[in-house]
């Protein structure tokens, strides 16, 4: 059968479609974005009427998916690792409600922080919620797990975490597709109060979840995704989680001399690990992300068998793994190529030529020359690149929506005026509630919403804020006299500078909305128009 060339993300989307999904829910976030994008481009998804519109943020996505699960239909929610923090309240409680239709939560981790502010490991969330975690080692497994994950979820009455990392999400390989399952029909929960987490019901549900743990553990022990592969050299036994299995095998051309436990379903398969411990003199744990498995194997006293991994320095404590790092841990000598010549300079990402954020920062920087520096709280998006030269314009980037509320807090402390810079999509994701707070306090801050009509950094997805920003601000109670708009173009520089200066001088809350379409989406729609001619 002809294999199809899929990104890991695309394999997950097609797996979910073939597994009978009725709704994809997500907010864009690298490296998870392409799952939803694949669904949106799929003719099959359109024909089957599968929901695939972007959500406003990860929490709303998670809740909508729980709602679909409640009806008895299968749903998937996809997000980058830090999105799990936004969705955490809904996610953790969905383990207590349990599911009706199968529910898969895809958490795309970003070890090495290619496009993120941390490298948190979502396996801890799965463990925290007491639910099974699937971690594919390749694109084919990603497809299978997305397809079969719904049944695992339904069988154990819990959401299932499908944990991937950037490397798998954004790497292509051939995938063979299997049969297709039909979508389920609406069939509400037998117990009408299953999803009502009043303490009395929650206590009962929680006990059920705890009782289910034995079966969830047994499923890991029996899982075909977990394997014990024997080897002759018992000096080391290797535990290889997710894609680290590939880096191990790469070094031995598929013939590893050491016994290996391949882990792709959690909780950790006790049977295989016990056997490895009995057979081998020491254990090497390979895992992308935090030492999640390694810590569990060591325990508090760490007095048993010698364990090597990220905690004892056999592997680096941070960053993603690769074949060279694994080779080093196994004392395999690799002859590298020549060093990078000194003439090669760093080339960090930068704002596009012609981008409106550039004009925003050009004006803001001059307007702020009258004040002491260090008062600009920014947010997450392309405009975070304003931190780099030549702009050096911002002083913070913490989490989605933090710009406005950090400015409120700084102003409370007396740093006046404080400035918040936030994009349109980030504003509707998590900025609106913060702005309401600023309205109520009439905080002496300037909120600069750099509105480019799209979710730019992740590739130009629809923004929930499109054509709504000014109305939202009015609705939240921003004083119309201090709710200004401008067009960030060089030719309007003087005028824009004057507006920003005036609002900086105002001793209350002002909002300035800079409105100009993202240069990338402009180029894309021009190309499309050219083609249609």
């Amino acid at each position: 059968m002809q294999k199809l060339l899929f990104l890991g993300d695309e394999a997950i989307a097609q797996g979910a479609i073939d597994g009978g999904i009725s709704g994809f829910y997500a907010y864009p976030g690298t490296p998870s974005t392409e799952i939803m994008e694949y669904a949106q481009k799929s003719k099959e998804v359109a024909q089957k009427g599968i929901q695939c519109k972007w959500s406003t943020n990860e929490k709303t996505a998670m809740e909508s998916a729980i709602g679909m699960s409640y009806t008895g239909k299968r749903a998937m929610v996809q997000m980058k690792h830090v999105g799990m923090n936004v969705a955490a309240d809904a996610f953790l409680n969905s383990a207590i409600t349990g599911v009706n239709g199968g529910l898969i939560v895809v958490a795309a981790d970003d070890p090495s922080m290619h496009s993120s502010q941390n490298e948190q490991d979502s396996r801890f969330y799965g463990d925290f919620a007491l639910v099974p975690i699937l971690e594919p080692s390749n694109q084919q497994e990603a497809y299978e797990m997305a397809k079969n994950g719904f049944e695992i979820s339904e069988k154990f009455n819990v959401p299932v975490v499908l944990r991937i990392t950037t490397r798998l999400a954004h790497s292509r390989a051939g995938v063979s597709l299997g049969d297709k399952k039909e979508q389920l029909k609406i069939k509400l929960p037998k117990d009408p109060r299953q999803f009502v987490l009043l303490p009395a019901i929650a206590r009962r549900n929680y006990k059920k979840l705890l009782e289910m743990q034995t079966s969830i553990q047994q499923a890991s022990n029996d899982s075909s995704y977990n394997k014990y592969i024997d080897g002759n050299n018992k000096k080391i036994g290797v535990v290889a989680c997710g894609i680290s299995f590939n880096y191990l095998m790469e070094n031995f051309d598929g013939e590893c001399p050491y016994p290996v436990v391949k882990v792709s379903q959690y909780p950790i398969p006790e049977n295989h690990i016990q056997k490895l411990r009995q057979e081998c003199e020491s254990i090497l744990v390979l895992e992308d992300g935090y030492p999640f498995v390694e810590k569990q194997l060591r325990g508090f006293f760490d007095e048993g068998i010698k364990i090597m991994g990220r905690l004892d320095g056999s592997l680096p404590r941070d960053g993603e793994l690769n074949p060279n790092i694994v080779a080093k841990a196994l004392d395999i000598n690799i002859v590298e190529g020549v060093d990078i010549p000194e003439v090669v300079k760093m080339r960090p990402p930068s704002l596009c030529q012609g981008c409106g954020h550039r004009d925003v920062y050009n004006a803001l920087n001059i307007a702020l020359e009258d004040y002491e520096p260090g008062r600009v709280f920014a947010d997450i998006g392309c405009y975070t690149l304003g931190a780099l030269p030549p702009f050096n314009a911002i002083n913070s980037c913490v989490d989605m929506g933090a710009s406005i509320t950090m400015a409120v807090g700084a102003a409370d402390a007396g740093l006046v005026p404080a400035v918040a810079v936030i994009g349109d999509s980030t504003f509707t994701h998590s900025g609106m509630t913060g702005l309401l707070e600023a309205v109520i306090k009439n905080s002496p801050i300037l909120v600069l919403i750099s509105d480019n009509f799209t979710t730019g950094m992740t590739g130009g997805q629809d923004s929930a804020a499109k054509d709504r920003i000014v109305d939202i601000c009015k609705g939240l109670g921003v004083d119309p006299k201090h709710l200004r708009t401008l067009v960030p173009l060089r030719k309007h520089h003087e005028e824009n500078l004057a507006i920003i200066k005036e609002e900086l001088a105002y001793k209350g809350l002002s909002v300035v909305v800079a409105q100009r379409e993202c240069i990338q989406t402009v180029i894309r729609s021009r190309k499309k128009m050219g083609k249609n001619k």
């Binding site: 490397r167 798998l168 790469e250 003439v343 960090p348 030269p389």
Partner: protein, 194 residues
């Protein structure tokens, strides 16, 4: 047959088009393939690379081991040098010579050309000029692919097939343009390695 290829460039320069043409050609030949790409923040004018691995046997790692790449194909000269630790001792470096200068401390062109010149196996060509002469500067990345053709383990007709699979839907004109670009790069490289 096994080829480990590093594709290099700056976000937006179109290295993924090169990867997709080689990828389609490999799939048409029923070879195994893995291709790791960079999406997200670095695509905004930062350095980007793609690890492309092709083999007639199953491939494990999505990433190429340092010292194991058969070639580096780059659409930008400074970027071609960034991945030298990955290149085999006898590996080939194929690069466009036209710099993309979006950083203030971009080195002198001559310094970069000197570093490329030190390597034992290299093909350096002004792919933009060649593409311009053919009438479409935007196919310069395919000119670079053409220059890599002698080392790829594919017949040029197989890569033409890859171009047809990839651009077929977008019209014959684009297919023809890219095939011309492929041949121009190929001829340049053949002349160099004579």
């Amino acid at each position: 047959m096994k080829k480990d290829i590093i594709l290099a460039g700056v976000g937006g320069q179109g290295i993924l088009t090169i990867a997709a043409i080689i990828g389609s050609s490999a799939i048409n030949k029923n070879l195994y393939l893995k291709q790791a790409e960079v999406h997200g923040m670095s695509q905004r004018g930062g350095d980007v690379q793609s690890n492309l691995r092709i083999s007639d046997k199953p491939i494990y790692s999505d990433l190429i081991t340092k010292g194991h790449a058969d070639m580096i194909i780059s659409v930008e000269p400074m970027e071609s040098l960034r991945y030298l630790p990955f290149l085999k001792k006898d590996g080939y470096l194929i690069t466009n010579t036209v710099p993309f200068k979006n950083i203030p401390n971009y080195p002198e062109d001559e310094e970069i050309y000197a570093a490329i010149d030190k390597l034992p196996n290299k093909i350096a060509l002004d792919a933009e000029q060649i593409a311009k002469d053919l009438g479409n500067v935007r196919s310069s990345n395919v000119v670079v692919l053409g220059a890599a053709t002698p080392f790829l383990g594919f017949a040029i007709e197989e890569l033409e097939g890859g171009i047809k699979s990839l651009f077929g839907k977008k019209g014959d004109e684009l297919v023809e343009m890219n095939i011309k670009a492929l041949h121009a790069g190929y001829e340049f490289a053949k002349e160099k390695i004579k």
